[in-house]
């Protein structure tokens, strides 16, 4: 089997699974309990928080554990919107955000907020000057993702952060779900106020994520109750999941450089193999573009529906996707690709290939050969 759908979800690392199992079976206490079983869990939670903070170069007190990337994004956007509604009701985001940001913005519009959806260039990149232009006295939040999950475009986060440093009352949220473990990430240095991660995208277990909340940023909590996570996120902490996530974070963080290089090589090899095929078009960043994430390649086979190629590849035990998994049931072409100016026909035929560090060059070669076999055949059938 060749699994090239790592942007949808990754295989948890065996050591991560082991950590999960050990904590779940041995240290099951509730961290809020006063007895020492509770104390032990609280200690594990503290350690995990410290590891997570170290990997991001921030303070442990700035980490809020959540149930995943979607919750983190909702918590950041609604948290700022509700907390600071008396100061302003304008939010700036991009037109290529993940559904968990995009739909939350749509919801906020219904509640009376105004949202600017910035366009991108034809590679799916937001222009920092557009952010600058969209800012007004009323702007309470700018939310731009780090790496686009469909095109793999890396956004100019540092530059946007620099622009926003002149606007201390406008918070900067970054959905870094597709960026962590693939590219350097320094929220503290880049002027980021809020940052979302999801464990299952970097070989942790599902149902676990985090939100970095820079000290001093006031947020109305999304989930209210017992007051866990400094009051920012209530609910009994998923200690095994959190410990497992911290472990995965450390592993990815330590191997960032070599993982990055390895996946970059896979990406180059894949593009080199596909681009010469006249029926294949690359979407998003080019092979040597500096703002290309190493793990995502998006290609179209115009005239052929992506699903058909996907299922043909599936027969060869090769798994890819047509777009972000959570909207894959939708038969419309990808909102993100259209926003990046890709025409409808090309968008309908787009496939996303996404790597993990465990993928190999040999797998890439098998994939290229499979495409060479499948696509021309399909093209013939489609023509008659």
């Amino acid at each position: 089997m060749i699994y090239f759908d790592n942007s949808a979800t990754t295989l948890p690392h065996p050591d991560v699974v082991k950590a999960f199992g050990d904590v779940a079976s041995q240290f099951f206490g509730n961290p809020s309990s006063l007895h020492h079983l509770g104390g032990k869990s609280a200690q594990l939670l503290d350690q995990a928080r410290k590891v997570a903070a170290d990997c991001l170069g921030v303070q442990p007190g700035e980490i809020v554990f959540t149930s995943g990337g979607t919750e983190s994004n909702n918590a950041a956007l609604k948290g700022v919107a509700i907390q600071h509604r008396s100061r302003g009701k304008h939010i700036i985001t991009s037109s290529i955000e993940h559904a968990s940001v995009y739909e939350t913005c749509k919801q906020l519009e219904e509640l009376g907020y105004s949202v600017t959806y910035l366009p991108t260039d034809d590679k799916g990149r937001v222009r920092p000057e557009d952010v600058q232009r969209a800012l007004s006295d009323d702007t309470i939040l700018v939310s731009v993702m780090y790496v686009n999950s469909e095109l793999g475009t890396v956004q100019p986060i540092e530059e946007i952060g620099r622009i926003l440093s002149a606007y201390p009352k406008t918070y900067f949220h970054v959905d870094a779900v597709q960026g962590f473990g693939k590219l350097p990430l320094m929220p503290g240095k880049w002027g980021i106020d809020l940052l979302s991660l999801s464990a299952h995208k970097f070989h942790g277990v599902r149902g676990c994520g985090l939100l970095y909340v820079r000290r001093g940023v006031m947020l109305s909590p999304l989930i209210i109750g017992g007051g866990q996570e400094g009051g920012l996120r209530s609910g009994t902490e998923n200690v095994p999941g959190i410990v497992a996530m911290a472990k995965a974070m450390r592993m990815q963080h330590e191997r960032l450089q070599e993982n990055h290089e390895h996946m970059k090589k896979l990406r180059a090899r894949l593009i080199d193999g596909l681009l010469p095929l006249e029926y294949c078009k690359l979407n998003g960043p080019g092979k040597d573009d500096a703002y290309a994430a190493p793990h995502i390649v998006n290609v179209s086979f115009p005239g052929i529906k992506a699903e058909v190629v996907l299922h043909a590849l599936e027969k060869e035990e090769i798994y890819v996707s047509t777009r972000s998994a959570c909207s894959s049931k939708n038969s419309k072409p990808s909102r993100v690709l259209l926003a990046a100016g890709i025409d409808e026909e090309r968008a309908r035929s787009a496939l996303r290939i996404s790597f993990s560090p465990d993928n190999t060059e040999a797998e890439v070669d098998v994939f290229i050969r499979a495409i060479q076999k499948i696509v021309p055949n399909l093209a013939k059938i489609m023509r008659v």
Partner: protein
């Protein structure tokens, strides 16, 4: 010295069978159920199966079960989701003073947004009077949220009667069954419940998973927005392993419910019998008849909760004051306060809660250790 865990109302250990059921989904079954390919689709089926199991456990339809990240999220979603989706109907919500903070603090949040909340009192056993609920209903009342069984004192509410009343008066009825599930018979149809929260980690399932039952046809706004998961009612990549573990735990809990109830009942009586034998001064807090057998809340007049818990911990007995999320603070429990107990009972209350793995020997041993501590003063 053997450690004896009597804090199962705070959280429970994961049952070995549950962990075993989960592990394959961290290995070769790790697909994303929303993926179009077979590798994802085969876990889609797994999630559907788990949904049917949970539905069966509360006598609901699979389509009425929404998976969440736990009991707290389920409570938040029920209250905020229903109140915001039914603004045209009214702004009033009825709850009780003894709810878990997941409900109470969410009510306060709704008040800050302009909603109106009535917090019904309870009697000294911790029960809400059905007449009080009836009287509190106004033309603009949208929902009633009264918990099934209280997590601190174990008192059961008149769920069936409140459900019937709510139905007659055209008001939605939510109940937080996080503590009652797996102990009491939870039948949403028979009890006329419209919304019901449960949490896996209270029934030997994994932490970070739970569900909200929302009766078909209920107007409820989505609360966590994003992808199309859970029919757009709860976005986020499904925690498949967690959901599988939850379903396995729920099944185990329901299949062993009667025998466990009998076992906890025995443990309770035994504990008190030991104290009676040793002339320990104690009073049981809660209802003498309508209680959940796994929770035993007692006051030892003359002692102080915090000091007692510490001594118990040293003696290898894990117990709690109120609910775990507030034991960190050790304020007087809002539940006992609402029950209007005398001061000496308020400041000396301890909650013991039984669960999987507790044996008669353990509990007798714990009762004896407790007796020694209390009698020493």
């Amino acid at each position: 010295m053997q450690e004896i865990y009597l804090d199962h109302a705070a959280t429970t250990p994961v049952h070995p069978e549950v962990l075993e059921a989960m592990l394959p989904y961290y290995r070769d079954m790790h697909g994303n159920p929303s993926s179009m390919h077979r590798f994802g689709q085969r876990v889609r089926h797994t999630v559907d199966e788990a949904r049917s199991i949970i539905a069966r456990c509360v006598n609901a339809e699979p389509g009425e079960i929404i998976f969440t990240s736990g009991g707290t999220e389920a409570d938040n979603m029920a209250l905020i989701g229903v109140m915001t989706a039914n603004r045209d109907k009214g702004k009033h919500l009825i709850t009780s003073q003894i709810e878990h903070h997941a409900v109470l603090h969410t009510c306060e949040y709704l008040e800050s947004l302009g909603y109106e909340v009535t917090y019904l009192p309870v009697d000294e056993t911790g029960r809400v009077a059905v007449e009080d609920v009836a009287q509190a209903i106004r033309p603009d009342t949208v929902m009633i949220s009264i918990m099934f069984g209280n997590n601190e004192v174990g008192t059961l509410q008149h769920i069936g009667k409140i459900g019937k009343l709510a139905k007659e008066r055209g008001v939605y009825f939510h109940t937080d069954a996080v503590q009652a599930f797996g102990i009491e018979e939870v039948d949403v149809k028979r009890l006329h419940v419209d919304l019901l929260s449960i949490s896996a980690h209270k029934v030997n399932g994994p932490k970070g998973v739970g569900s909200l039952y929302a009766r078909r046809g209920i107007k409820i706004a989505s609360y966590i927005h994003g992808g199309n998961q859970e029919k757009k009612r709860r976005a986020g990549t499904e925690n498949v392993a967690g959901i599988v573990g939850f379903a396995r735990a729920a099944e185990l809990a329901i299949n062993t419910r009667e025998e466990r109830r009998a076992h906890y009942e025995k443990l309770r009586r035994m504990m008190m019998a030991v104290w009676d034998e040793q002339s320990v001064d104690y009073v049981v807090n809660g209802h003498p008849k309508f209680y959940m057998p796994h929770i035993l809340n007692v006051s030892f007049p003359g002692t102080k909760t915090e000091a007692m818990l510490m001594k118990l911990d040293i003696a290898g007995v894990a117990a709690a004051s109120g609910s775990a999320c507030m034991s960190g603070s050790l304020e007087i429990s809002h539940v006992l306060r609402a029950m209007n107990l005398p001061e000496d009972r308020l400041i000396s209350a301890i909650r013991f809660s039984f669960g999987y793995g507790n044996t008669e020997e353990q509990v007798r041993e714990a009762a004896e250790r407790i007796a020694r501590i209390v009698n020493k003063g």
